[in-house]
Amino acid sequence: MRIYLDHNATTPVRAEVVQAMTQTLTDVYGNPSSGHAEGDAARARIEAARDAVARCLGASPSWVYFTAGASEANNAVLMGLLEEGPGHLVTSNVEHPSVEEPAARLESAGMQVTRVPVDEEGLLTPEAIFAALRPDTRLVSLIWANNETGVVQPMEAIAEGLASRGVRLHVDATQALGKWPVDLSRVPADYLSCSAHKLGGPKGSGCLVARAGTPLHPLIRGGPQERRVRGGTENVAGIVGFGRACALVSEELAERMLEYARLRDRLWEGLEAKVGEVRRNGSVEHMLPNTLNVEFLGTAGEVLLQALDLEGVAVSAGAACHSGSISPSHVLSAMGLSPEQARSSLRISVGHGVDTGQIDAAVDLFGELVARIRRAGPA
């Protein structure tokens, strides 16, 4: 009965993933560090998953370090800079908090941070990134596809330019993976973070990819796991699920991108026709195929989100804090939207399981509820 249009927050776990994880939980209970058959069986599952993840990312398996998700991987890369002494970090003003907050922490520890601003379409230019570099720049850390707007940065050009200048690049590919081609054989980034649950895998599982030879500082000490980079007995089922989800991406990406774009475009056309006074946020040409960030003029996004939820449709508004109170999105503000415009904007993201009928039903509901909110008075 529910219509789930918040696939950028998380997307349902695919049946194939559930099956692989269930089978692992049931049959493969060994500790991967043990020297017996049960341990070997568990270790084999992890290594098979590592191969699947690496293949999906165009990486070598030896570059993949499993973590509890992208936030951990982002923290590991940024906070690792503390081990290297003072210097300069380049990032953008539309990063996920798991990059922005470590960057702010580095800043208070004496590191200098340049946050390159996006333009009004939410885009960065490679030239602006290169212009921000200094002789002591230790790292550039950028989000590939923005979680709120879906805007995709020109990462190939940025990565090539940085590689030729000998500056390390960390890419947060959390939203990109599964919806956009992520191929490290073409994009020479040094580090890449991603999370399983954005692509049909389980929550609490993800990885950091670090090319051979790039420095890596252990975030969790105390064990031989993940080549001593991340101590602690592995989340075997979570890793298996991640591997299975990546294998599905390898098989389905081209098809998924077409289907998501079809649904998303139908949704946008419906909103334009049946709701009216709507405006798209972010570059239409450089955007994930599944994401739509829309300003509904004269409505408060928070109220619209709640009214939609009561009628069975799930979407997202700004950044919800722990209690669920919503503050205006820093990403939209960075693109020059006023606080009112940012408050009137919702993120709608499609994914596996969404069909045409749901899109049409959602459009009708948007029409009814937005009209009701606009009638009730100024937002």
Binding site: M1, I3, E302, V303, Q306, A307, D309, L310, E311, G312, V313, C321, H322, S323, G324, S325, I326, S327, D360, A361, A362, D364, L365, E368, L369, R372, I373, A376, G377
Partner: protein
């Protein structure tokens, strides 16, 4: 509506009765609103819990912990729950006004505006959008309807110790028609017992007594944070004859009737009689000068919608914990009322609300009726 219809289908009971009406419950995370929500679910309403995020996170009643408590209760009750963010409106309409009132030499009571604007105007608007039949709260008060006139009446609750009608006198007929006070017939002890019986996590949560955005009770500090110039506006303490008795650091630190913290020595006990914002003077005098024969009350709102045509008798409550004093009300033009007390009343503070109750009560069993109220002028 293809999406709405299934939702309504689900809400039908087995006999095919119509969907239960939706209702919003303002949930603060305290025991009262938790039980209010629980009682409504028992009556087969489709209850939607809403916590209003009003002041910054550090404050007492609107803190994230309280929102989490409310969310947990909502989860236990199996109802939808949302946080409604009104922080900028609250800053503008309540906190800033609170500071300005102190600077003007008055003693504000922010809970009245908060209740009227936030728990009713704003939540009522959200209820309309949610197509809910109204808003329920955990206030201790009762609403009845006069069969003859069809008018809604606001009445004191059964538990007079917890009576909150003083804060609710600004509700109008349209709001009262869509407002529900499920605790009106219960005592606080009964509320706690029932909450315990239902296993609500907030059953034994301590009471919040202070103004929510003044956590330690140090309102002067709050005023100075919002209006830093307040701290630079010291002045004289004078007696009724204009004789200078001492100096003070700012009139926002004083309230009519205050005896302590004047920092002057005198053979007789001195009280703050009056605050003169323009002259920045705190006027002090003996207790005898504290008594007022009457008061002028402005911006008067009448629950019935219109003022009485001639003077009426009423019991007038001049602050939250005041027992009320018998008086005659003389309606004047421009929503003003001249109150003449039968006996002089002490510490009538400009900025506080004067709330009028029917006297003598015509139907005391159902709770004394609120006639209306307004703001005491200085």
């Amino acid at each position: 509506m293809t999406v709405l219809e299934p939702a309504r289908e689900e809400a039908r009971d087995e006999a095919g009765a119509p969907a239960s009406p939706r209702i919003i419950v303002a949930m603060s995370g305290g025991v009262d609103s938790s039980l209010a929500a629980a009682l409504l679910t028992e009556e087969s309403f489709e209850v939607v819990g809403v916590t209003m995020h009003l002041a910054g996170d550090a404050s007492r009643c609107c803190s994230l912990e309280d929102a989490d408590d409310a969310r947990r209760v909502a989860e236990n009750l199996g109802i939808r729950f949302y946080v409604a963010n009104y922080t900028s409106e609250f800053q503008r309409e309540v906190i800033d006004v609170f500071a300005d009132e102190y600077l003007a030499g008055r003693t504000p009571i922010p809970c009245v505006a908060c209740n009227k604007r936030f728990k009713f105007d704003y939540l009522m608007e959200r209820a309309e959008i949610f197509q809910a039949k109204g808003v329920a709260t955990g206030h201790y008060a009762r609403i009845s309807r006069d069969p003859a006139s069809g008018l809604f009446e606001l009445r004191r609750p059964r538990d007079l110790q917890k009576d909150q009608t003083y804060f609710l006198f600004q509700l109008d007929q349209a709001q009262l028609s869509k407002t529900f006070f499920p605790l009106g017939e219960l005592t606080k002890e009964e509320v706690r017992e029932r909450a315990r019986g239902l296993g609500l996590g907030t059953a034994d949560k301590p009471e919040s007594q202070e103004i929510c955005f003044v956590p330690g009770g140090d309102y002067a500090e709050v005023v100075e944070t919002i209006r830093p110039e307040a701290a630079q506006r010291g002045g004289e303490i004078v007696n009724g004859q204009g004789l200078v008795m001492g100096r003070h650091p700012g009139i926002h630190r004083f309230t009519v009737g205050q005896r302590h913290g004047l920092g002057i020595s005198s053979s007789e006990r001195l009280y703050v009689i009056r605050l003169d914002a323009e002259a920045r003077q705190v006027v002090v005098g003996p207790e005898s000068e504290l008594a007022a024969e009457g008061a002028e009350v402005s911006e008067v709102h009448w629950i019935a919608g219109a003022p009485p045509r001639q003077p009426i008798r009423a019991k007038v409550q001049i602050r939250y914990r005041h027992g009320g004093a018998l008086a005659t009300l003389y309606p004047l033009p421009q929503d003003t009322v001249r109150v003449e007390f039968d006996e002089p009343v002490k510490a009538v503070s400009p900025g506080q609300a004067a709330v009028f109750y029917e006297a003598p009560p015509s139907d005391g069993d159902r709770g004394e009726r609120v006639l209306g109220g307004g703001w005491i002028r200085g």
